[in-house]
């Protein structure tokens, strides 16, 4: 991939060397078009990042309205978050649900991914499709289906119900990420372990896990964040339980509360830290290039 980019750069730099005034005029137009394109693309990147660029400084504002630039620096919105037991309880629930559901989807999903990649049985594509389905279906369909199901079996508005629902939603990510990781690990190394008399469990502990742990950790973090940010299914199923996104959503529907900017900034910080961690782990595992193709 890198080679091709360098080749492309080399070609581009030789292209304007064509002679003749018509060619020169065309090159001028080309430069103009390239500037216009760069300007437009820059504006689109700004459009993408503007929400983040605005929310972070607002969270440190001393004003209780949405004044920008903020008239002064203060931590009052962080105080109002950390001083409110309802927000803290919501944060606790979010963390608990995210931890439990990401751990269970990691366990179920990684082992299933191993079966999908290494197995030779029929219907693997169908199984994988089924595991990934919650990612493709609009979450609101999963929410309606689980609502009706949970209402019938008494799991509506319970913690176990929420954990099960979030496990369903995070399984696709674990299966996809771990499939890539296992596929990129040389199967002959596993076979060597077997040929030396290792059981599957022994091979898993001594060969697979030491080699794949960065991917395992990355998949876990990914699943954790997906669960922590989940809004729609939680809104339908949570009943009296509050999570951070559910509380944020309900507050946003009613009014504009600057405390949200503080929580948003904390969430952005969490995302940036974890994306950095995941990128680092994936690079270690050498998976990043393969995932992007």
């Amino acid at each position: 991939m890198a080679g091709r980019i360098e080749r492309a750069a080399a070609v581009r730099s030789t292209r304007p060397a064509a002679d003749g005034s018509a060619a020169a005029r065309r090159a001028d137009e080309g430069v103009l078009a390239r500037y216009a394109l760069a300007l437009f693309a820059g504006a689109v990147v700004l459009f993408l990042c503007l929400p983040i660029a605005v929310v972070v400084p607002m969270s440190f504002s001393s004003a209780s309205s949405l004044e920008f630039p903020p008239p002064g620096f203060s931590l009052r919105w962080y105080q109002s978050f950390f001083g409110d037991p309802r927000w803290l309880r919501a944060a606790g629930n979010s963390a608990l649900i995210a931890f439990a559901s990401s751990a269970s989807s990691l366990a179920l999903g990684s082992i299933a991914a191993y079966g999908l990649v290494r197995g030779t049985f029929r219907g693997r594509a169908i199984l994988e499709g089924n595991f990934v389905a919650p990612l493709i279906l609009p979450p609101v369909i999963t929410a309606v289906a689980l609502y009706i199901f949970f209402a019938r079996i008494g799991l509506l508005g319970t913690l176990p119900g929420l954990i099960v629902a979030h496990t369903v939603l995070t399984v696709p990510y674990v299966v996809l990420l771990m499939s890539v990781a296992i596929r990129s690990f040389d199967v002959r190394i596993e076979q060597v372990a077997y040929s030396l008399g290792a059981s599957w469990l022994r091979m898993f502990r001594s060969v697979l896990l030491p080699n794949l742990w960065p991917s395992v950790l990355a998949a876990w973090i990914f699943a954790f964040i997906i669960s922590f940010d989940e809004v729609i299914v939680t809104l339908f199923l949570a009943g009296a339980y509050d999570t951070i996104p559910k509380r944020m959503f309900n507050e946003l529907i009613l009014q504009v509360n600057p405390t949200i900017t503080a929580i948003a900034t904390l969430l952005i910080a969490l995302s940036v830290i974890t994306i950095g961690l995941v990128a680092w782990l994936m690079q270690r595992a050498g998976v990043l290039g393969r995932t992007l193709g």
Partner: protein
């Protein structure tokens, strides 16, 4: 040696056993609920399609369906118009800058959709940055309503979904063989001709796949229309929220979910079909 391998294989036939726990879990916690929902959508025997009939009879439901499709189409168009030039520009950057550009496109991807949606209230709300500036500069007396209408919903949706279009499109553009462009140039084609006759047709399948993906995702959008539409731009998902959580009409909610399910699967089939064509 071979015996040990064979024993290992015989214990766990063809690897299917590894998938079993997840299969059991998904059957119980995902497939069964979906099937139950399909069951709820079916009426009592004489009039099996009664609930689907209601969707067609009541103008409200048809209006919301139409609304959803219109917003999905507009948001998809906006994403295509903004995303293609961005991906094309990213392709022309040096590898280091490409990485930075990808990071900037991915970053919002990782930030909670609630946060990104909320930010637009801060920026474009009646009391937001733009309206304050406009009034401060004396350009407008009353606040301009950017939000709580279709414009707000499309803007928020496009902002959230743009990375879904840009990233695969950019990856496809990188994979494109430069020798094809060089061949066209060596045959005397102008830059514009090369773009429209060679580059664009070759990246069109990826663009179409990305557009269908954005369309699918918009069909199920809930948060953005709820917050930036202010209840005035209801989409399918918001109606489902109403039918389940406010006025319990489970049968109708199940029927509408089924319609959405079928539409999504149809779009997804189109996505897969286009996707197989985009492979070089």
């Amino acid at each position: 040696m071979a015996a040990a391998t064979l024993a290992g294989r015989r214990l766990l036939p063809a690897g299917a056993a590894y998938a079993l726990p997840l299969v059991a879990f998904m059957l119980l916690a995902f497939n069964l609920p979906i099937v139950l929902m399909l069951g709820w959508s079916i009426g009592a025997p004489p009039d099996v399609l009664a609930h689907y009939g209601q969707i067609l009879e009541r103008a409200v439901y048809l209006k919301v369906l139409g609304n959803t499709f219109r917003i999905a189409a507009i948001a998809t168009l906006v994403c295509v118009l903004l995303g293609y030039p961005l991906a094309y520009w990213m392709r022309s950057l040096s590898p280091g800058r490409q990485l930075l550009a990808v990071a900037l496109v991915v970053l919002p991807f990782w930030v909670s959709i609630l946060v990104r949606t909320y930010a637009w209230i801060v920026i474009l709300g009646n009391d937001g940055l733009v309206n304050r500036s406009l009034q401060g500069l004396g350009l407008s007396g009353a606040p301009v309503s950017f939000l709580y209408n279709q414009f707000g919903v499309v803007l928020g949706t496009a902002n959230v979904l743009l990375p879904f279009l840009v990233l695969p499109l950019f990856a496809a553009m990188l994979k494109l063989d430069d020798r094809l462009l060089q061949a066209a140039a060596s045959l005397g084609a102008s830059r514009r001709t090369i773009f429209w006759r060679v580059f664009f047709p070759l990246t069109l399948p990826s663009l179409a796949a990305g557009a269908i993906l954005v369309f699918i995702l918009t069909l199920g959008f809930f948060i953005t229309p709820a917050i930036l539409g202010g209840g005035r731009v209801p989409m399918i998902a918001n109606m489902l929220d109403l039918l389940i959580n406010r006025l319990p009409r489970w049968e109708l909610a199940a029927a509408i979910s089924t319609v959405l399910l079928v539409l999504t699967l149809a779009c997804y089939a189109a996505y897969r079909w286009v996707g197989t064509r985009s492979q070089p």
